[in-house]
Structures are given as C-alpha cells and as structure tokens.
Amino acid sequence: MAKRKRGGSRKAPAAEEPKAAPPTASDDEQPTRRRLRPEVRFLLTFIVVLGASFAFLAWKPVNDHVVEPFTGQIAKASGATLRALGQDVTRVDTMLRSPRFAVNIKNGCNGVEAMVILLAAIVAFPAPWKARLLGLVAGAVAIQLVNLVRVVALFLTGAYLPRLFDTSHTVVWQTLVILAAVLIWILWARRVTPRPVPA
C-alpha cells in the first residue's frame, strides 16, 4: 500500500514527524511560543463547525427547502419499511399514521443532529480531505440507517407498547443515535490516523 500523506491538512511539522526527538535542555530554554494543544485545537474547530452548521440549518430557507423535504424522505422510507413489516401506514408530509398510532417526524428525530456532530468531529480531526469526505458520506449513510431503525422501532413501540414510548423516544433512541455517530467517528479516526513509519 502506498504510504499515506501524514497528518492530512495539518501544517505543524513537529506533529507530522513520527519520530520526534526527545526534548533537550535547549528546547526547554526556548521562549514559550507554544502551539495550541491538539485537544484544544480539535475542540475549538469542533465547536465552530458545529455552531456554524446548526446556524445554517436553522436558517428558515434552508430548513424549509432542505431539512423539511429531507425529513419527508425519511418519513417515506420509514413508511415503506413499516408497510413491509405488515403495518397499515399512510404518510402525509412528515407524519406517519396507522389505525393504532401516529407520529410526526420533526427536527431532532431526523438524524440531522447526529450527522452534524459527525461532520464537526470529522472536520476537526486532522486527516486528508478525501478521507474526510469518505468518512462523511459513509457515516451519514450509517447514521440514517440507524435513524430508520429508530423511527420504525418507535412507531412499533407507540403502536404496541405506548407506555414505553416516551422513555424510548427521549432516552433510549436519542442516546443510541448519538452513540452511533460517536462510534462511527472513533472507527473512522482510528482508520485515518497515520500508520507509523518503521524505524
């Protein structure tokens, strides 16, 4: 396999050098012009991208012309899956209705938040842009698959175990979808972390 470009877009040479020399006395005596710690750099970028992305998605034209139709497609896919499972479901926009139960898929239940968290974490992590793009696409698809399972499971919970719906909706599935995003990011980050060069 071809040797991968180390560190992607990172510019700091010290961080790209896998075999950094141990600090010497002269290093210690140098004036303290320190770079940001990697964690701080990661968190700052993460917060900025997260904030900018949510602000963009909360903008009414984007919400009306992108997020709402996207949520409608999620409702469509969920309705088709529920019908394949034998449920008598009809869909109106973002609402799924059956004789037993009805749900309206809103922001917060469409997986977009998890996708944006994944986007911010991927952009904040030092990696080549191609790897970032691949991670984003694969991660978004995986998150939407988990979200499809969530919507279908919640609909069935509401229809057959209504007492468990609230807890399942708020705690169980929100946690699982965010955990899925976090796990996808962790697996991606481990994969794109540069391979050490043998000494």
Binding site: G7, A14, A15, E17, P18, K19, A20, R35, R37, P38, E39, F42, L43, F46, I47, L50, G51, F54, A58, N107, G108, E113, A114, V116, I117, A120, A121, P126, T170, V171, V172, Q174, T175, L176, I178, L179, A181, V182, L183, I186, L187, A189, R190, R191, T193, P194, R195, P196, V197, A199
Partner: protein
C-alpha cells in the same frame, strides 16, 4: 489533575501499544474494545440514570429557579417539579393570560447523562482511578450545563411563548437572543457535549502517535 499525573496513573500499555510502535490492528482493536464496552456500559448508565432521575430533576429545577431569581428584580419566578419529570414555570406577578404555568420536560434536558456515563466508563486502557476522576469532572461540567439549559428555557418561555405578555416585556433582540440561545443549547450543545468532553479527556488515547508525546 495534571496531565503528567494522569499519564502516570494510566495502566501501562503493552509494549507494542506504546507511542510510535503501536501497530495498526492493535490501534483498531482499541476502538473495537470501546464499542464492546459500550454494549455493557450503556445499559448500566441507563439504569443509573433512571434511578437518579427524580433527584436529578429536582436538583436541576431548584438550581435553575435560584439562577433565574438571581437574574430578576423582583424575584417572581417559581419552578415546580411535577410528576418527577416536568418543570412547571410560573410567575408570582402574572398568569400571562392563562399561558402560565409553562411546562418543560426536565428529563429531556438531563438524559445526555446516559451518553456521558456510558462513554466515559467504556474507554479502554484507562485505570479505574483516572476513569472515575475524569467522569467526575465531566459530571460537574454537565450538571452546570443542565442548569443553564433550563434557565434558557425559562427565558425562552418568557420572551416568546406568552403571547401579548412576551411582546410587551421583550423586544425583538431579546426574543431572538433567548430563542436562539435555547435552540443552540437544547439541541447541538446538549447532544454534543458528552462527546466533546470525552474527546477533551481521551483524544490522545484515540489517536496514539498523531497527538503523541511530542505534542505534550
């Protein structure tokens, strides 16, 4: 806790896992062990959360009430816990045309605790002492966040949800400020905070040599 102290207390890594020598399959195994641990810690965290939820709700409600009353003259806001999970916001000076009390589900605010506990406890290759110390710091931060989040809910309700009363007491800037603040805190920040704190504590564990000793 200093980073040096934390590093010293870490479980020793196997020789191949140290610094640059860590081979790729082993590094990937770290992530897989994290995923496997999550299968165990997530249900534990959920049960813990269900057990402490009524007390946590009461704490968040009373702390947010105190914070709101500190920020107003005269102090008229009351927040009561109803059914162990709903915060009922009211004011001593008005019922705002019957729109008060305004209800907010407190469990919706503090459920990210499940995610936080699960992911902090699931992290591999960390000693129990460091694991619980880091979890403790993260819990302190997230508790403060829960109180701030409910505080923003209260102000959001006052500024935008009480019809003519809101319009008479809050201008366009204030309505946008509290509305946007509530939206940002209650969706992206609430959902991302456990992960962000985990990354702050464990990014080096995840990335190995990329953020290795040279950066310390």
């Amino acid at each position: 806790m200093s980073r040096k102290g934390a590093a010293a207390r870490r479980k020793p890594h196997p020789p191949a896992a140290r610094g640059n020598a860590e081979p790729r399959p082993q590094r990937r195994a770290w992530a897989l062990r994290l995923a496997r641990n999550l299968v165990i810690t997530a249900p534990i965290a959920m049960v813990l959360w269900l057990l402490v939820s009524p007390f946590l709700s009461l704490f968040v409600v009373k702390a947010a009430e105190r914070m709101t009353r500190l920020a107003e003259r005269p102090s008229v806001t009351r927040i009561e816990l109803s059914k162990g999970e709903d915060a009922l916001i009211s004011r001593a000076d008005t019922r705002a045309g019957g729109r008060l009390p305004y209800g907010v589900r407190v469990t919706d605010i503090h459920f990210p605790l499940v995610l936080l506990i699960a992911i902090f406890l699931a992290t591999p290759d960390v000693s129990a002492g460091e694991r619980f110390a880091n979890l403790g710091y993260a819990l302190l931060i997230i508790m403060f966040f829960f109180i701030i989040d409910l505080f923003f809910w209260v102000k959001f309700a006052y500024a935008t949800q009480l019809g003519a009363w809101s319009a008479a007491h809050y201008g366009p800037f204030a309505r946008n400020f509290w509305g946007l603040g509530k939206h940002v805190l209650d969706l992206p920040v609430k959902l991302a905070l456990p992960f962000a704190m985990w990354a702050a504590f464990y990014l080096r564990e995840l990335t190995g040599e990329l953020f290795g000793e040279a950066d310390r």
